[in-house]
Symmetry: C2
DNA sequence: ATGAAAGCGCTAACAA
DNA sequence: TTGTTAGCGCTTTCAT
């Protein structure tokens, strides 16, 4: 077995270049206070020895790890994964690494913070959906944090989220323009801020149009396709008439469409449906799904930018970003027409 | 601004417990050579001061970072994301962190290795699809590596992959059992090993049944839904008759089904389709997709297990794992019947 | 502009 | 079993 060659250190480079190790340190840190002659000698030695500074040693000496962590309910949801990918690329571009970890519940969240923060492994933390449960309560003080998906209720922590209210309002307004009047919505768990925002937009658009707000038009789902299916089943069973559904994510929209089909109702001929997220293959469902598209990698990039800003300038005030959402109309939506069958009690 | 309190170190604990810092080190490292009295005093002091060892300092002293990296084409593909999530959980369970980074091309792959390996930030590396391009050529020697998706061609590196051949054969055999004889396949890029394995299984099952191998029954796609659509278009345009399609991933299966629908052919009445991966919502497509299901988190867990084994026991021989794949029959497959319309030249 | 000395917080090796 | 002494590879501080 080949013995692994011992690491080339800053002192090896110094010896080879005939200078002290401090000059080498200055060169690799791009300090100005080095003569061009010394710099050239050091750079030559670095190249010859293929020297790379040890990230760990630098971390210890500087007290910075140049590593961030991202705590999210899971890594597999397309929405989360896309944000993480955006964050990871941006972090690396700025010389940081990103550890993305799945914390499905508060307990896991707390354990992860122990592993990451108490041991000083990371310089900052990105927390997805901090109010989905009580995980925000477990936040360790003293570590720079950025929220994704919710504004900090204390105002102290920067965050990046979507303009949920405008997005929801845009979809309802689209329905209204198309002549729909009986517009339902399927939400996620009401504890999540995005649901609150979307509901506000939904209500505002309706009341702006002079339409009454009807609590039975709102079905609380759990983001799963099954819950979208259950929403439609429930409305049909209660005999509540409707011609349009704003599902607050694409999975629930797909579930709702399946339930409509099983009830022999056509989308969009009988009922129009708009989803949220523009998930992959949204255009390959039957019918191709109208939906609200968000720029998820941008969310990740902005989260990293805000986090590094609060690491490097802790004195600056926190910021809250609201990114725009775009309505994408495909074929699950159509104009209201008198001839359509309005779902009734089965 | 609250000044951040200085870190509690091993010496603070030692002072408080009235012992040397080495006794503290021994206690936190669970070394046996400590008297129970000393241990108790140290543990008390640790609790009182809420001491946590610095991961960075340990890394520097021990020469191990307890961090792994996972280099994958992207983080958003459901398949990749699921494997990464499994790997991340397993790594953490064993006291390691995982940095997952997207390396879409060879150049990015090489750059990432520079950032991660040359700076000694990680102890080991998991590489997804090493033969998708020439990224395997850029592998730095001296760092423990595990491949995911392909066996190492030199045999020196451990790997975990699927039993691609059996999986493909199982789907073809299912078609044969159902009476189909004109069975097509849509592959991914032929450079990828999984495609080779799946093609072998496809051919073997056909020849075992005494059926001739027809090159025009194979369409080389690129994993995208569009390429699945193109495959069907191409067969129809050439007037090649077929009644069953084995698409080597679900996206291409969905694309193929869309093309069949656009050609007024019914799935499964006219053509049966089997996909691969069992992606989310596969059961919500129209028709619900028959597919081959793999246990992706298990792949991740096994990859981490093999990687840690080769880190801790570099002398042991490499291993190649082949995980089983399960055929899930939903509604995109049906028995062959004489009455069906076999697609012909349009 | 350059270098010597003293850490960062821990562990390895040795001595007691 | 315990403590002492040296590092790990770098940066920071302070001379020169």
């Amino acid at each position: 077995m080949a013995k692994t060659k011992p690491r080339v250190t800053i002192r090896d480079v110094a010896r080879r270049a005939g200078v002290s190790h401090m000059s080498v340190s200055r060169v690799i840190n791009k300090s100005a206070r080095v003569s061009s002659k010394t710099r050239a000698a050091v750079e030559k030695a670095i190249a010859e020895l293929d020297y790379r500074p040890s990230a760990i040693a630098r971390s210890l000496a500087r007290g910075k790890t140049h590593t961030l962590a991202c705590l999210t309910p899971n890594l597999t949801d397309f929405t989360f994964a896309s944000i993480i990918e955006g964050a990871e690329v941006e972090a690396r571009r700025r010389g940081y690494f990103l550890i993305a970890s799945a914390a499905p519940d508060e307990q896991a969240f707390d354990a992860l913070q122990n592993q990451l923060i108490s041991t000083r492994r990371i310089d900052g933390l990105i927390v997805f959906n901090p109010y989905a449960d009580d995980r925000h309560v477990h936040l360790r003080p003293g570590v720079p944090v950025v929220f994704v998906g919710s504004r900090h209720r204390g105002g102290r922590i920067s965050s990046v989220a979507l303009d949920e209210e405008s997005a929801a309002a845009a979809s309802v307004e689209y329905f209204l323009d198309q002549g729909h009047r009986q517009i339902m919505t399927i939400t996620g768990p009401t504890a999540e801020d995005c649901v609150t925002g979307r509901l506000q937009g939904y209500r505002r658009a309706l009341s702006d149009a002079g339409l009454a707000y009807a609590p039975e038009h709102i079905f609380v789902g759990d983001w799963s396709a099954n819950s979208g299916y259950a929403a439609v089943e429930s409305w049909l069973a209660q005999g509540i008439p409707f011609t349009a559904i704003f599902a607050q994510n694409d999975r629930m929209a797909v579930g709702a469409i399946a339930a409509l089909r099983d009830a022999s109702l056509c989308v969009p001929a009988d009922v129009s449906v708009i989803g949220f997220d523009d998930m992959p293959l949204a255009s390959y469902f039957d019918p191709p799904l109208s939906t609200l598209r968000q720029d998820m990698p941008l969310i990740g990039r902005e989260a990293v930018r805000l986090l590094l800003e609060s690491i490097e300038h802790p004195e600056r005030p926190s910021q809250h970003l609201q990114l725009p959402v775009e309505l994408v109309i495909r074929s699950s939506t159509a104009e209201f027409s008198r001839e359509r069958r309005i779902p009734e009690r089965r």
